[in-house]
């Protein structure tokens, strides 16, 4: 296997509720990229990806409970670290 950093990813249903979350991720993670397939948006990032509650709230202008992402979450990879303010996916190699 190669020694390059592996991607972590997270995917959401491609809908209006998920859009500010996706935009927040892309704003907070400059190396992340989003790919759209029918019904689905998948975001890949090398090694690490963070979702920040504050950035989503800036996007929408209202309070956001980070666990709301569960409603439109489709899949993810990597180890999870989650608290009230952020959710981080990462590989440790």
């Amino acid at each position: 296997m190669s020694s390059s950093i592996s991607n972590v990813f997270i995917a959401f249903q491609d809908n209006e509720e998920a859009r500010p979350v996706v935009e927040a991720i892309l704003a907070d993670n400059p190396d992340a990229s989003a790919a759209h397939t029918p019904g689905l948006v998948k975001i890949d990032a090398p090694g690490r990806l963070t979702i920040r509650r504050a950035t989503i709230e800036e996007q929408t202008g209202r309070a956001y409970d980070l666990q709301q992402i569960h409603v439109n979450l489709v899949t993810l990879s990597g180890h999870i670290d989650e608290d009230d303010d952020q959710l981080t996916l990462s590989w440790r190699h």
Binding site: N7, A11, W91
Partner: protein, 523 residues
Amino acid sequence: MDTRVAKKKLGLKERYAAMTRGLAWDTSYQPMDKVFPYDRYEGIRIHDWDKWEDPFRLTMDAYWKYQGEKEKKLYAVIEAFAQNNGQLGVADARYVNALKLFIQGVTPLEYYAHRGFAHVGRHFTGAGARVAAQMQSIDELRHFQTETHALSHYNKYFNGMHQANHWFDRVWYLSVPKSFFEDALTAGPFEFLTAVSFSFEYVLTNLLFVPFMSGAAHNGDMSTVTFGFSAQSDESRHMTLGIECIKFMLEQDPANVPIVQKWIDKWFWRGYRVLTLVAMMQDYMLPKRVMSWKEAWEMYAEQNGGALFKDLARYGIREPAGWKAACEGKDHISHQAWNTFYNYAAAAPFHTWVPSDEELDWLSQKYPETFDRYYRPRLLHYRAQQQAGKRFYNKTLPMLCTTCQIPMLFTEPGDASRICYRESSYLGDKYHFCSDGCQHIFEQEPEKYVQSWLPVHQIYQGHCFKEGVDPTQPGFDPLMAVLDWYELNVGRDNFDFEGSEDQKNFAAWRGDAQPAAGEGGAA
């Protein structure tokens, strides 16, 4: 009383700890070992259950709130779909056969998962693991119900769905997913989580739901997209339970490493074999295609699984034993499976067909190394035979692999022109396998697999006829007697799509107002 103290709200981790560890207690009337007897005999050593890291910390109030939201969204879509005759909007009626396979072979697994997680949700000594498993058990019951509700609308209009539960326990190819899950359910709790949460959900489930649901979206099936994604939205928690359980076992004691590795080897291969059905659905049963099985395999198994096993290497875990063979199989298995189902279309309650020229070209483009060389000529031959009025139906019974229960349809590694056969003896009897992977699994636990309910063996032993049927009568037709026992409507549920009732009905319902394929202009 008169000074109000501002109570600091607990953070997420504290809230979840209060619900799990905080509400748990050690038993005193009976020793803990006697109350939780099942999580030791597998040999997994746990020194400190408090080191269990909770995957996704949903407390009960949040769980009910978000699950309720998911349900409301889903049922709004299902209702709108039914009211607007959404079934007429799917790309073409062949697509519905993928849904038949889903309700027959996948939905019952959700129910098995519900039972399995309810069981381990009782039997882990650690409260964190118990709560996670209990929540998942409820999720799985929800999946079984929502999938059944969503697909019941199709059952009003199409054949091949009306006896899905009855078929699951009887029909030959459905013993593949059924035996997979029964194997997991009858293992100990740690092996069950390694099998279902880690190997199936974390490593492989993306291959089932993500491209397939995207395919449903592309084929105009909003109701399936929605139940698929609604189920999948729970999946991230399930996958995380899988990886947390693996890490927990590996971190608790180095003696656990070889046991876990053995389970990963076994369950990766078992899961990979079950996904053969999905590979076939993806490449052959979606009239409008999103990605090939091979592309999905590369994206979700090779890239993501590769990253995962690189990560677990620090514990001394390597990639599963069958990994390379599975990666080689990405060029072959969907074609080999479709060929088999095309052959046995008389004995299966869904339709098969030879793909159109345009679809064959798509397959050639997606499988440049193998499709034209091995698989296209065979399909063209079938088509020529059919057009000459000689549609071939294989009426003999195939030899099954004792472990995965799939007919012997896979080829030798490195030689796609030769069927792969392996054979082992146990207590004087011979057992047959489709691969080194399945043979190895058998040899680790022969006493388990010699009990397999192999459909072909059962038919030959006369266990698959209705009561009172006399196979010694002159003119006895064993296939018809088996189909009768299946409760399969011969001529409606089975045979080629070409000429089927589904095909005729769908064309009639859509009427002439619908443009024929290719004339619809830009999408």
